[in-house]
């Protein structure tokens, strides 16, 4: 078994950590708190197959550019019943960055506050530059090569 597989297995066996709930206000605060880094925010869910394919690739992308200031933040859009599964999948993917779970009083308001053009479809990725400005949105299934190309314009 390769080292990577051992680490993934260990992560999965370690069991689920709790995800931090986030609403509209919390989202604004977390963006503020992370200002100075290039943020890649990934909205995903355990039931979303394209999200599950994409997330490990985003983890690799973050590892490649972490030294230059890229930080991956994941926000699960799962129901509370799937939180443990979400945490287990994040551990399995060896996600290093902060992990949140969407808990908004109104999904419509939360989604509109993130991006007016976003319908809530998953996966959804948002790049924020070092000044905390939203620089690029990827709505729906996206090739990670396109994400990396967009990242190249943010340094």
């Amino acid at each position: 078994m390769t080292r990577r597989r051992w680490l993934a297995l260990a992560g999965a066996l370690r069991g689920p950590a709790r995800l931090t709930p986030v609403d509209e206000a919390g989202y604004r605060k977390l963006l503020e708190a992370e200002r100075g880094q290039v943020l890649l925010v990934d909205f995903w869910a355990t039931w979303c197959q394209p999200c599950r394919v994409e997330l490990p690739l985003l983890v690799k992308l973050e590892a490649k550019y972490r030294g230059r200031g890229l930080k991956l933040i994941t926000i699960s859009c799962d129901e509370p019943e799937q939180e443990a599964d979400a945490a287990r999948f994040l551990a399995q993917c060896q996600v290093k960055g902060p992990a949140y779970i969407k808990r908004a009083a109104s999904d419509d308001r939360f989604i509109a506050s993130v991006d007016a053009k976003w319908s809530g479809a998953l996966p959804a990725l948002f790049f924020y530059d070092r000044q905390g400005r939203k620089a690029r949105s990827f709505l729906g299934e996206t090739e990670v090569a396109a994400v990396e190309a967009a990242l190249g314009k943010l340094w």
């Binding site: 039931w47 197959q49 129901e79 999904d107 319908s119 479809a121 998953l122 299934e141």
Partner: protein, 192 residues
């Protein structure tokens, strides 16, 4: 001339699959689906006093969470003149899979295939599940989610049921549009 250019642009957008043709409040024109044996079926033959168009999936966990609720809706409203037209527009889910899924889940209603997601494009449907309630004239009176929670125990608003009750009573639908949620419809890639 200007009208001709507008028509050309609309035709090109529709051909490319980008144009949503059926809007809330507007009447839908006829469209054709296929039953799971591949026989074309015109919407005109399926519609009733009130018609529910529902885009659903076989593999989407959210859509599958609604299987029992869809059956309950059918049982509660079919006898009151509501017709249900459930459609699978996913390019990744062939008719044989749709038929098997319907059988396994004991659906009392047929599920039709929308090959090439032509009908989904005309409605502008994005998700499974996503529903539209049409009146007798074929105008869309409600569009959006079946209800407001994937988890049945947390439902606070029965959007589709409220719309159907209002329509059957000859009243206006109070909440005519909600945000549908679920898996995205897996569209076929069309040549641009």
């Amino acid at each position: 001339m200007r009208q001709a250019v507008s028509w050309l642009v609309a035709a090109l957008l529709a051909a490319a699959g980008w144009g949503q043709e059926f809007k809330l409040g507007a009447k839908v024109s006829d469209f054709t689906l296929k039953d799971v044996s591949g026989t074309p079926v015109a919407f005109e033959k399926l519609k009733g006093k009130v018609t529910v168009i529902g885009f659903i999936a076989t593999k989407c966990p959210i859509s599958n969470d609604y299987n029992e609720r869809m059956k309950a809706l059918y049982q509660d409203y079919q006898g009151r003149g509501v017709r249900f037209v459930f459609i699978n527009a996913n390019g990744t889910e062939p008719a044989s899979e749709v038929a098997g899924h319907a059988q396994q889940n004991g659906f009392p209603f047929p599920v039709y295939k929308d090959d090439g997601n032509v009908v989904a494009d005309r409605f502008g449907a994005e998700y499974t599940p996503e529903v539209y309630a049409l009146d007798q004239a074929g105008a869309i009176r409600y569009h959006g989610a079946i209800d407001d929670s994937r988890v049945a125990a947390r439902i606070k608003a029965q959007h589709l049921r409220q719309a159907l009750e209002a329509m059957l009573a000859g009243q206006g639908v109070e909440t005519a549009q909600t945000r549908a949620f679920g898996c995205t419809i897996k569209r076929v890639k069309k040549a641009s």
